[in-house]
Amino acid sequence: MAVTKKTNTQLFVDGILTENPIFRLALSMCPAVGISTTVMNGILLGIAVLFVQVFSSCTISLIKDHIHPRIRIPTYTLTIAMWVTVIDLVLAAYMPVAYKAMGIFVKLIVAFAIITMRLEMFASKNNLGPSFWDGIGMGLGFMFAMMTLGFVRELLGMGTLLGYDILGFKPLLYFVLPCAGFILVGLMMGMFNWIEVVYNRRKRVKEL
């Protein structure tokens, strides 16, 4: 059982930057393309994913010794499905408008590869503390990515941020159309790659 040697802060920062689920690991991109049209959507789905990720990570790390290795994947899936049902019902009851805007994506959190992957790679091998921080890092990383996308798309598409008028005109309506989501995610990934290349080059120069 490989217990992680990273500190909690490191786990937290890794989730947001170096192992960002959307831009770096390229996982769970359906919501990133589908509903990142506004910042608000990004925040709400981010909260939902954060909730599911943290709670499933904690659940699995608590019961990891009792799961037979052969049925671990179905166990993960059912655990996630349970927490998704909880957040789905909570959102439907307390935030009906936002719930409608996100449509089927709240229920589809159950199929997000990122959550299952973190359970398999991390929570099933580590104790409650690190799993909790890893879950928070991953959830916030997802939220950060969704908010960045939502920021660009809302600002360029509708000229607003969080519903407030910022620019006073609509620069590029194209960005509200969902197909712009694909192109924007592509560009963002390219940008993250470029930052990494530049960063590594600087580091190498410094070492020399």
Partner: protein, 319 residues
């Protein structure tokens, strides 16, 4: 083998006849046929001549869309054919012909005798409706390019054309199988027991189960096929379309045929999307792409262009 085939044909024929009867069953003995004409007319054919004064009175008819019984649609004119057996209702606003309409006629008068009140369902021919669901799920509302689902598998399996086709076929088979089981379970177990809130847990379990089932059956029945497609089976679980289709079926209260068409259309649509993307990515390998954009980023930009093209289908209605 011969008997087997004949048996299948007979069963198919029986199902088609049953479907036809279900779609066009007469609901009142004096009304032979009702149907839409253009976008703002309903044509009613009676079994015999009706009284002109009765037929011309707009107050005798009332029409509403099936989901909204409170909203009565306004009829502005009733035209009767010279032989008095066909009445044409003209509405103020265009009708949403995709929706079933309920038409009520009070006390049909024929030769001075009342034929009773008729309550009829007006809808488009059932085959056309099914076909429109199929094409809708396949192209117009393509799950990958217009609903943005199943992207992980979509980008993961579109590197080569052979992989794309294999994944597409496997996915179509499994999703059809899983969606039909999900429909059955939802209609006959979850709904009667009022367990709708268990949808997510039940459907995800069902999808994994059917993947496992197909895996086991294929391994025993057709090892050659299993060798070709077995690798893709595991990936089907990771595809959110596989869980989205049962959820959509449950939300829209589709019946068995409509569910079958939606699931099949979703699978074929995914196959089309995968194949298109694989063709482009094979060519992209030869192109000179900036190093930071190699791999995923450029694939996303390409998918964006595809989605833009698929936007051209939006709002199209077939039949």
């Amino acid at each position: 083998m011969k008997n087997f085939t004949r048996h299948h044909i007979l069963m198919g024929a029986f199902l088609i006849v049953a479907l036809f009867l279900a779609g066009c069953a007469p609901e009142h003995r004096f009304v032979k046929k009702v149907g839409f004409k253009d976008t703002d007319k309903i044509v009613i054919t009676f079994a015999g001549p009706v009284d002109e004064t009765w037929a011309k009175d707009v107050a005798n008819y009332s029409v509403y869309e099936k989901p909204d019984p409170d909203i009565r649609l306004k009829i502005i004119d009733v035209a009767l054919s010279p032989d008095k057996t066909t009445a044409t209702l003209t509405f103020e606003d265009p009708l949403n012909t995709n929706q079933a309409h309920i038409l009520t006629m009070t006390e049909i008068l024929s030769d001075g005798r009342s034929q009773g009140t008729a309550v009829l369902t007006v809808k488009k021919l059932y085959f056309g409706y099914l076909f429109s669901i199929l094409i809708g799920a396949m192209i117009i509302n393509n799950f990958v390019f217009t609903k943005y689902l199943g992207l992980c598998v979509f980008f993961g399996c579109s590197q080569k054309r052979s992989t794309a086709v294999g994944m597409g076929i496997t996915f179509t088979l499994v999703i059809t199988f899983a969606a039909m089981m999900a429909w059955f379970l939802y209609q006959f177990a979850l709904k009667p027991l009022r367990l709708d809130y268990m949808q997510i847990v039940v459907f995800i379990g069902l999808v994994s189960l059917s993947v496992q089932g197909v895996d086991t059956i294929l391994r025993k029945v057709n090892p050659a096929l299993f060798k070709a497609f077995g690798v893709y089976l595991v990936l089907v679980i990771a595809n959110c379309i596989a869980i989205a289709v049962p959820l959509i079926l449950a939300d829209n209260e589709y019946n068995a045929w409509e569910s079958l068409m939606l699931a099949f259309g979703a699978g074929l649509g995914f196959l089309i999307a995968l194949f298109l993307m694989a063709c482009v990515r094979e060519k992209l390998d030869l192109a000179n792409v900036p190093p930071t954009f190699k791999g995923m980023p450029i694939a996303f930009v390409m998918a964006g262009l595809f989605a833009l093209a698929f936007l051209g289908f939006s709002g199209m209605s077939i039949y």
